[in-house]
Symmetry: C2
Subunit: 414 residues, 2 copies
């Protein structure tokens, strides 16, 4: 595939976006169910394609699990598509309307974004998840997955395209870039004429590369250096439970906890048990000087620790003198994702929620709840860590824009 | 100023953003009034600085008018600030809230974006407009104006900074880059640690340069290749009035009309009068082959015309065979800004508004109404032509994001 082919692919996506944007909810839902059926009917083809990816000699061992498809994982993808069919359709919702001084009637109506570009890494299920979410929200999608899962991705995308074709619809509503070269990825990120938004999903390195190199607008997702601040008015057991849940329940994800800040007045009392419990769960505990004084055998934390997202069973602890210091620290070193205070003091909780600059600011609950499903959105395309367009968990509505429908009777501007 | 100075300036803005984000509406309004008073009190200083800019020997003649400040223009800026003080404050509004299955209470609350970077060209009034809008919406701002208006811009920004200081507030809520070098502009567009959004205002060239070179999220504004489609069911007089208003009332702005598409069945009847009237208003009329057949002396339009935003008293006319062709043409050549159909047919109007992909889609009214003030927003930071974050006229709300405030009582994720 060369650059001209890619430009053509972009134009086809733009044309197809007008087809899907005008499709009614019932038809979209029927097709989502048909996609799910096709996955199950062609399970053998999917597993065979996945086997080709897995037998690729260049694959790194750490990718094997996330790359592997099984009958269960195919069933999960089909279930995801059927769940999407049950969700409310945000398209054509009216967000508001008014009459202007000149007598124009203005209606603000929700419309699809148009063409969504997805750039992702090894997991082939993203092909189905992302295509399903874009489809339900009325968008055409161009998929560009990792080279490790190329055969799996192409097979999955083609199954959906065949369903579209069989229903007499433009199969280019869903397209996949079959060539994983870097040059083409760069050109993809510059298709401003065809793509309305790029959503990268994967490692911090991938996301930063897209943010840096794209000229198409990007929604930045997924970086999570999340903190729990244990206030002097914290319930000790609750603090412990929330720390353990935030760190160990699923350490590889962006809403897990990476840092504990604890008020000096309760540090000596609470830290020994917190550290012991973390270790019992297999967590490597690092700490600042004050933490080392209380629990002498913690590993000294260095400067880089405070801004590092471990995504692993590692945590760093810092003792602070005040809530103000904790808030400043979080605003400086955090990634504006999810931040937690454990406190029974009304004023402390309110101040934390007002002053901490993050998508989700919790009092007395685990950061692990930052999730489209837990929030009740019924779906999730990612968790935005930027403030533009969408912040925090993004459901179907984050894949929409709006237009103003304006009706007059001959008005001209004076 | 070097790159390190700029990084420091960015950090100061980020710190100041926490001060302004926590400021109450009453105090913000008092300061907007104080800014206005300061402009009037220091009118002589402003005019003197402006005179320095105007006597710069390198200035191009076409910049002189937009660069020139007068007593009236200073009064207009002060009036703009006082109007902002009267507008509702979007900050801290609650957009929604619910309880999740796990019993968390989630509140979606409107917050400032944080730090807004403004990149603009010759008009010094943008310094005051942009700073006022950012201030009212709780954002810190970093201003980077054109080199032509450097002295005017610095004087205007410093007046506001002095007011902040005199009130015991962080003057870095409003900062200006005093060095108009290109290197520094590029570094400014890459300050992802400090700046939450960049808004370019000015020529298409400036905006495209920012879109291409920025790594900070950008809101693209202002490109307007707007069309009027005259349907076969159009009222001839209404079509004429809307065409003339769209083209001649203020040809230099982005919501003016650049193209007329007219249905073949009414072209022969309507075009002679439309062309004659346009010419009477001093408009140069270009046309496709069919238009040339009807009005032989129109200038032949070439391929480049159809995608050109003239911003001048030039218009190009094309005859189309159907509404479908008009819609396809607009979606291909338009800039998704403002598009108009003139028709008394219900079906034609509905189809146009549904299928045209633009921020504002009008039936029987002039595209010139696409404007924050005309829409009743009371202010305007620009007109977005992208679909992400904000689309169409952007008022104060477009300068905000939201956060989720989440209250629990010890919930952890299962």
């Amino acid at each position: 595939m060369n650059q001209n082919d890619l430009i053509e692919l972009g134009h086809r996506a733009k044309q197809a976006s007008y087809v899907i944007s005008a499709m009614g909810t019932h038809q979209k839902n029927q097709l989502l169910l048909a996609f799910a059926d096709a996955l199950e009917q062609h399970q053998a083809d999917i597993l065979a394609a996945n086997q080709r990816d897995l037998t690729n000699s260049q694959i790194e061992p750490r990718f094997v699990d996330r790359l592997t498809l099984t009958e269960t994982r195919i069933a999960d993808m089909a279930h995801g598509l059927r769940s999407l069919a049950e969700l409310a359709d945000p398209i054509a919702e009216i967000d508001g309307g008014w009459e202007t001084e000149s007598g124009l009637r203005v209606i603000k109506q929700r419309v699809p974004l148009g063409v969504v570009g997805m750039i992702y890494e090894a997991r082939p299920n993203v092909t189905i998840d992302a295509a399903g979410l874009c489809f339900k929200s009325g968008n055409a999608v161009i998929l560009r997955g990792g080279k490790e899962s190329l055969h799996s991705n192409i097979t999955l995308a083609n199954l959906m395209r065949q369903v579209l074709k069989a229903h007499g619809l433009d199969e280019n509503i869903i397209q996949i870039i079959p060539d994983p070269s870097h040059e083409l990825a760069q050109q993809f990120m510059e298709l401003t004429d065809s793509i309305d938004v790029l959503i990268p999903r994967g490692s911090a390195r991938l996301i930063q590369a897209v943010v840096k190199n794209a000229t198409v607008p990007v929604i930045e997702t997924g970086a999570g250096n999340c903190h729990i601040y244990v206030d002097q008015a914290a319930d000790a057991q609750m603090a412990l439970d929330i720390i353990i849940n935030g760190k160990v329940q699923r350490p590889s994800v962006c809403n897990s906890i990476e840092k504990v800040l604890i008020h000096r007045s309760v540090a000596a009392q609470m830290l020994p048990e917190i550290v012991a419990s973390l270790r019992k769960h297999g967590v490597e505990v690092r700490g600042d000087a004050a933490t080392q004084q209380i629990v002498p055998d913690v590993i000294p934390a260095n400067t880089a620790d405070w801004s590092t997202e471990y995504n692993a069973l590692i945590i760093a602890i810092k003792v602070v003198d005040s809530e103000e210091q904790a808030i400043q620290w979080i605003n400086q070193y955090g990634t504006h994702h999810s931040e937690v205070i454990v406190s029974d003091n009304y004023q402390a909780g309110t101040q934390f929620q007002t002053q901490v600059d993050a998508a989700c600011v919790y009092v007395n609950a685990s950061s692990r709840f930052t999730d489209g499903f837990e929030f009740g959105f019924g779906a999730e395309i990612g968790i935005s860590t930027q403030k533009l367009h969408a912040r925090g968990p993004m459901g179907l509505k984050a894949l929409t824009s709006y237009k103003y429908i304006i009706n007059g009777n001959g008005q001209v501007r004076k």
